[in-house]
Amino acid sequence: MSAARRCRPSRALAGLFVWRLRSTGVRQIPYRFVHLYHTANNRLITFQYFNFLKRMYVTQCNKDLSQRAKAKSDSIVSPFHELQQLDQEKKVVHKISPVSPVHQSWSETSSRNELREIKSAAETEDSVIPVGAESKEDRQWKEMKLRLDDLPGILARLSKIKLTALVVSTTSAGFAMAPVPFELTCFLLASLGTGLASCAANSINQFFEVPFDSNMNRTKNRPLVRGQISPLLAVCFAASCGVPGIALLTLGVNPLTGALGAFNIFLYTCCYTPLKRMSIANTWVGAVVGAIPPIMGWTAATGSLDSGALLLGGILYSWQFPHFNALSWGLREDYSRGGYCMMSVTHPGLCRRVALRHCLALIGLSTVAPVLDITTWTFPIISLPINLYISYLGFQFYRDANRSSSRKLFFCSLWHLPMLLLVMFTCKKSVLEKEDKSDLPGRSHERAMEIRLP
C-alpha cells in the first residue's frame, strides 16, 4: 500500500522535523531545487495531512489509499502537525531521479544536520528563512495578481487536496464495512460530498491561521501565507465547496450524513482551530473530527447510526492519539513559539500516557468488532500482531519518549491504520452469513431480496 511504501523509509527522521534545503554548490540547477522544494513541501503537507487526516475530519473524505476509508477529514494533517514527513521528502527525492543522488544525500544529511542544529543551539539563524533554492524565489517581490493557470494548483493547496483524499478514503472504508449491499451511486455521492466538505473545512482553516502558518516551518508555503490568493477568494471557494457538498450529502445520500458532515465542518473550523491555541483539549476534539468520516460512510450506506458505525469511529478516534502524540513530540519548539497548546509541550507525561492508552484501546476495539457482528472472529486474531506491535512501540514511547521512539511510533501508525482497515474489510461478515444466523425467516427473506436487487 502506498502508505506502507511511504512509511518505510526510516530515514524519515527529517520528516518529523523542519525541512530545510541547504543550497550547496549545485547552483546550476536552481529550478530543480525549487521544484524539489515545492513538491517536497506539497507532499510533505499532504502526507502530513494524511496523518492529520483523522484529526481534521471534515466528514467527507473517503478512503484514502493510506489511511482512511472515505473520510473527509482534512484533519490532522492540518495545522496541527507541522511535522514534515521525511518520507514525502524521500518520495520526492526519488521522483526527481536524474538529480536525486545529489539531492538525497544532500537533503538527508543537510536535514539531519539541520535538525541537530535546530534542536540544540539557540542559533538565531534558526528563525531566519532557510537559505537555499526556495529563497531565490522567496526573496523576490511578487505581484499579487491572480493568474488563472495557477488557480487549480493554488486551490488544491488551499483545500489540502491530498488530505481530503485520505479523508475520502476513510469514508469509503466506513461505507464498505456497512452490512448492506453495495450501491455505486450512493458510494460516489457520499465520496464526492465528503470530499467537498473536506475542501471547505480545510480552506477555512487556512483562512483563520495565516499569521501562525507563516511562523511555522511546515506551513509557511501555503497559498494565503504567500499572498497567492486573497482571503475573500478563499472564503468564497470554501463556501462554494461546502454548500454543494453538504447539500449533496443531505439530498443525494441522506439527511443524517449531511448533518454529520455539517457538524464536522463546524467542529473542525469553529472548535478545533481556535481551540488549538487555547487549551490541550483540541487534541480530543480533533480526534472526534477524525472519527466522524467513517461514521459518515456508514450512515451513507445504511442510513442509520448503529453500533458498527460507532465502533469504526472509535477505532479511528483511538488511532489519532498515538499518531498525533508521536508526531507532535518532535514539533515542540515550533508549537511553543507559535503559541499552540499541545500536550507534548505542556503535559508531556499525559501525552505519553494517552498515546499508550489508546494503542491498547485499539486492541480492545478490534475484539469488540466480531461481538457487534461487523466482522468474523478472525479479525481480532489477525489484527492482533499489528495491534500488539503498535502497542509495543507505544509502550517504548511511553517509557523513553525520545526522538527515535516517537518517530517509530508515528511511522508505525501510518501503515497500521490502512492495514487494520484492510484486514477489517477482508474479515467483514458477509450479509448472507448474517442472514443464515438471523432467526426471523421473514427478515432473512427480505435481506435475500435486497441482495438480489441491483
Binding site: 543551539a121 507563516s214 504567500r226 475573500l232
Partner: protein, 147 residues
C-alpha cells in the same frame, strides 16, 4: 515593485516576524470604501508585524538565556573546544518550551481575538468592494450595450 504597477505586491518573509510585507497600490480614484479596506489591511499588517517580531525576538533571547543558565549549571561553557556553540538536547529544551508557552498564553489569547476580528473585518470589506466593483462593471456593460 515597479512604479507603473496597478496591483499590490507581496515581498519575502520578514527576518523577525516571518510575515510577508505587502505594498498596497493606491488607485487614483480610490473610493472611500476602498480606502477603508486598504487602511484596515495596512493596520493589520503593522500590528501583526509588531507582535510577531517582538514575540520571536523574545523567544530567541529567552532560549539563549535558558541554554546559558543550564550550561552554566552543568559547568560548561557556551562554546566548546572546537568553537562550536554548545547545545542542550531536546529533553532539556522541553522545559523551556513548556515554560515559554505558559508564560505567553494570555498574550496569545488576546492576539487571537484581535486577529480574528481584523481578519473578518478585512474579508468583509473585501467582499463589499468586490460587490461594488461588480455592480459598476455590470452597469457599464449595460450602458455599452444600450449605446
Amino acid at each position: 515593485p515597479p512604479a507603473h504597477s496597478h496591483s499590490d505586491w507581496i515581498g519575502p518573509p520578514d527576518k523577525h516576524s516571518n510575515l510577508r510585507p505587502i505594498i498596497f497600490y493606491v488607485p487614483p480614484e480610490e473610493s472611500a470604501l476602498e480606502r477603508r479596506l486598504r487602511e484596515a489591511r495596512q493596520e493589520a499588517q503593522a500590528s501583526n508585524q509588531r507582535f510577531w517580531a517582538r514575540h520571536n525576538r523574545a523567544f530567541r533571547q529567552e532560549k539563549e538565556e535558558f541554554i546559558y543558565s543550564r550550561l552554566k549549571a552543568k559547568g560548561l561553557e557556551m562554546r566548546d573546544e572546537s568553537g562550536q556553540k554548545a547545545t542542550l538536547n531536546a529533553e532539556e529544551m522541553a522545559d523551556f518550551y513548556k515554560d515559554f508557552l505558559s508564560k505567553n498564553l494570555k498574550k496569545h489569547l488576546q492576539y487571537n481575538r484581535d486577529w480574528y476580528k481584523r481578519n473578518f473585518r478585512i474579508t468583509f470589506l473585501m467582499g463589499q468592494v468586490a460587490l461594488v466593483k461588480a455592480l459598476r462593471w455590470l452597469r457599464r456593460r449595460k450602458k455599452n450595450v444600450e449605446q
